[in-house]
Symmetry: C2
């Protein structure tokens, strides 16, 4: 859902603020007022409000009427559910793709994998390398969705994935070792798809999605004020 193209003027501001939040340049909990933002970008409050509303619907901002607008805290419980959804959906979709596997699709994936390898082997500074890889990472998943004829589902996930991308930045999931691991996961996942190895596929997807998340429990305590305390559900 979430419209892809916004009104021209405010779209740039939307992208800029979203990036700042995702890159943690705007720390979770930070107050960010409409009028300050308007002055900063030399526009009026009206388009700023539009941007804030959009970011609120993505869970990146929290608007408290007459009090203020704040960068939302990272909700681990929410992220956990998002990852569960991704796990289940990708296991199903990639399985479908595997069942209708067509050799002519091979080059599409090989292209993406090659791109990822080149990024890792490049001499970019680690920060840029990490961000470039995240883009290529998303492309890998999106290409598989597309090949499986489930393009619309990407749109849906984009709207909620922001939450997770921010956490990913926080735990600094971007060391060269991490990227290499993700790359190897990707090649292994594609191998399972191409060879119709369903059990291996499900297993690798689960690990691919959860391993980074689970390994990061300790990192949280570096900035506990960034996180939302969730009363355990169920």
């Amino acid at each position: 859902m979430i419209s892809s193209k916004k009104a021209g003027a405010s779209q740039a501001v939307y992208q800029r603020i979203k990036e700042q939040i995702l890159h943690l340049e705007l720390a979770p909990g930070t107050a960010i007022s409409e009028i300050d933002t308007a002055e900063k970008y030399h526009i009026s409050r009206t388009p700023v409000r539009d941007v804030f509303k959009a970011l609120e619907s993505e869970g990146l901002l929290e608007i408290k009427p007459h009090i203020g607008t704040f960068v939302s805290l990272i909700d681990l419980d929410m992220i956990s559910d998002i990852l569960y959804m991704r796990e289940v959906m990708e296991q199903a979709i990639f399985k479908d793709l595997s069942a209708s596997y067509d050799k002519s699709q091979e080059f599409r994936i090989q292209l993406v994998l090659k791109e990822q390898k080149e990024i890792i082997e490049s001499d970019l500074p680690i920060e840029e390398m990490s961000r470039a890889f995240i883009v290529a990472d998303n492309r890998f998943h999106h290409t598989l969705y597309e090949l499986a004829g489930k393009k619309n589902i990407i749109t849906f996930f984009n709207a909620i994935n922001s939450q997770y991308e921010r956490f990913r930045t926080f735990i600094n999931l971007g060391g060269k070792n991490d990227l290499l691991r993700l790359y190897h996961d990707h090649t292994a996942i594609w191998k399972c798809i191409a060879s119709q190895d369903y059990d291996g596929l499900c297993d690798r997807i689960s690990h691919h999605i959860y391993d980074g998340f689970n390994a990061s429990a300790l990192e949280v305590h570096k900035h506990p004020e960034y996180f939302k305390i969730t009363k355990k559900q169920a």
Copy 2:
């Protein structure tokens, strides 16, 4: 995602317009201008714009800058993907619930099922009966999500389910026979969960979700102008 509580004044208007769209009182394709709406509800354009933006992000309105705002066409391709997501997610979640089945949960579901039975056996006019059942239907699914400890996922689905609910109204999925079929599906699904009959569970979920949708292909041609022509993907 999607914030549950909006600013007081505009929330009522939001609810009212959303209902009108979902009940097809505002037909797909209809133009709906900001200023007309503002006058109709005796508010200014500003809160109306907020409402429109929110409904756009749910896929119920389409805002074309400097041209107009229109009730979105029903996108069968999108609905198809939504149903696929529901199928896959519910098969997984209900399976998890079944694996950790606890007899103390029994009464929660029985309560919901009883409510549905009473609605069907009531003497409400069919239109009201149908709407009441839809509410109880959602409660059934939500209760299962909650028991499985996946409450957040409900929130995600709510944002995109609007599309499907509108289609449901269109095909008039609300005859007594339909409601009875849905009710029997529910009891059967719960039976599978309680008895850990995984294969039966998956099968029944698939039928529960798709049967009504597939049986309605003919209805579309009664109002072809309500539907979006989608170039076949993949």
